[in-house]
Amino acid sequence: MHRPLIDIKGVRHAYQTQSGPLQVLDGLQLSVPDGGFSAVVGPSGCGKSTLTRLIAGLMKPDDGEVWLNGDLVTGPKSIVGMAFQNPVMLEWRTILQNVMLPLEIVSTNMSKREKEDRALHLLALVGLEGFEDKRPSELSGGMRQRASLCRAIVHKPEVLILDEPFAALDAFTREDLWQTMHAVKAEEPFTGVLITHDLREAIFLSDEVVVLSGRPARTQYVMEVHLKGPRDIEHLYTPKSADALNILRHQIQIAQGRAPAEEAAQ
């Protein structure tokens, strides 16, 4: 049987707060096959960012296990790349130096020249050719997010974790970045998890959409996306896509407690 590259087995996690423990994840299951790309959607505050921190090894689950490429995660690993909603850039570095940052941490056998070429290649891939020597403050939000994406994959991570990376962008920029994501996916062999609250984004970018229940989050529903390979925005306006979006929207309402769960039995 094909072994999943990301395998999350029944993780539970609670934060200690002033008013006692806050159970955030409760027996969450998620597996993504090698080269796959899963989107995770769920009500705001249900524990999606917590999930990304567990996958990245930045926190340990109270219970359950996270496996990446056959290894149990016990701490941060350089096979992971991350990008966040807030595309933080080191303002004192140029864009190129920002993108190359992970290569200063992860040991590779690349020469300085090769590292630079790799970073420049990625910048060109996301449409930032010619911006390598600019400062982050000279870039728009969308451009910073593109650079942040380059930084997340520059060290060729096996696992890419994206935590609502496009959420703060305007609709047009966001759709541009979806296209860019497909261009990047076509060239880079990572296995990905995308956290999002945009259902169209979820089916446009992923192979599988996972709906989490409200807090404490558990896996409520998994949908295989009918679209395959690189896509066009028009694919979002077919009857099949409309059906998929409707099902997902309904699942979110159940997760938010706004629709009775019985109807979900399919």
Binding site: G75, F84, L90, L101, P102, E104
Partner: protein, 253 residues
């Protein structure tokens, strides 16, 4: 373009001196009320060697106090910025200490280490100026957005690497902002001590002798010398800031 950078402030100084002179002349103020710029030059010239000698004393003591303040301030700021417990423990102490008027500390120090002029003066300059540095560094470190840390932490970078590559450079603009305040404070500290301590040295002492011998132009000349020294040191800090934290400056738009 750069000659303007010098010419504009110099012109401002000259205009300021002119109006000062005019004010004193129009009001017919005697020297003991307000000396005019034209009285200052003779005072400078008469005591030129003392100005050089005492000016140097004041200068190096202030710089020494500042260096101490930077070392201790950054160290304290680091401890408070990186550890919540230490912040909770040290903050009230520091605030309380800072609230004590330093003029009251001066005689205590002077009595504590009688005759140690250099040490006493440096100590006061240090005590009065380390607080803003400690606070700014601790705030800079503790308000670092978690994403900054996570970029490197998710790759398995050590705490030290994160501090060195991200937290430290990110705090530099705040640090220099505080250092500019600290420069002025350190001068105040140095002079407080120099004025109060008997048989002292430094410009503060020269000011005190001017007072005792009712040489008002001398007193004003000391004030001007102090102002000039303050300007000099301030711009030294600005120059260092340009080198290390110039990136934080917004391009003019």
């Amino acid at each position: 373009m750069s000659w303007k950078k010098v010419a504009v402030p110099v012109a401002a100084l000259i205009i300021f001196g002119f109006f000062w002179e005019l004010l004193v002349w129009v009001n017919g103020w005697p020297n003991y009320k307000m000396a005019s710029p034209s009285d200052l030059w003779p005072a400078f010239w008469k005591f030129r060697w003392l100005f050089l000698e005492y000016g140097w004393d004041t200068f190096w003591r202030t710089v020494a106090g500042l260096v101490l303040a930077v070392l201790c301030g950054v160290f304290l700021g680091m401890i408070m910025g990186l550890s919540r417990i230490m912040r909770d423990a040290l903050y009230p102490l520091l605030v309380g200490f800072n609230a004590i008027p330093k003029a009251t500390v001066v005689p205590i120090i002077a009595l504590l280490f009688v005759g140690q002029h250099d040490m006493n003066t440096i100590l006061i300059a240090f005590l009065i100026s380390f607080f803003p540095i400690a606070v700014s560094v601790s705030i800079g470190l503790s308000t670092l957005e978690p994403e900054y840390r996570d970029i490197l932490a998710s790759l398995g970078a050590s705490r030290f690497t994160i501090f060195w590559k991200i937290a430290l450079p990110k705090t530099l603009p705040e640090f220099f902002g505080a250092l500019k305040v600290a420069v002025t404070l350190a001068f105040i500290g140095t002079n407080l001590m120099e004025i109060v301590e008997p048989h002292g040295r430094g410009l503060g002492h020269l000011f005190d002798s001017g007072k005792i011998s009712a040489d008002y132009p001398l007193m004003f000349a000391v004030l001007i010398a102090l102002a000039l020294m303050g300007i000099l040191l301030y711009y030294v800090v600005v120059a260092i800031e340009k080198v290390f934290a110039g990136w934080a400056e917004r391009a003019p738009t």
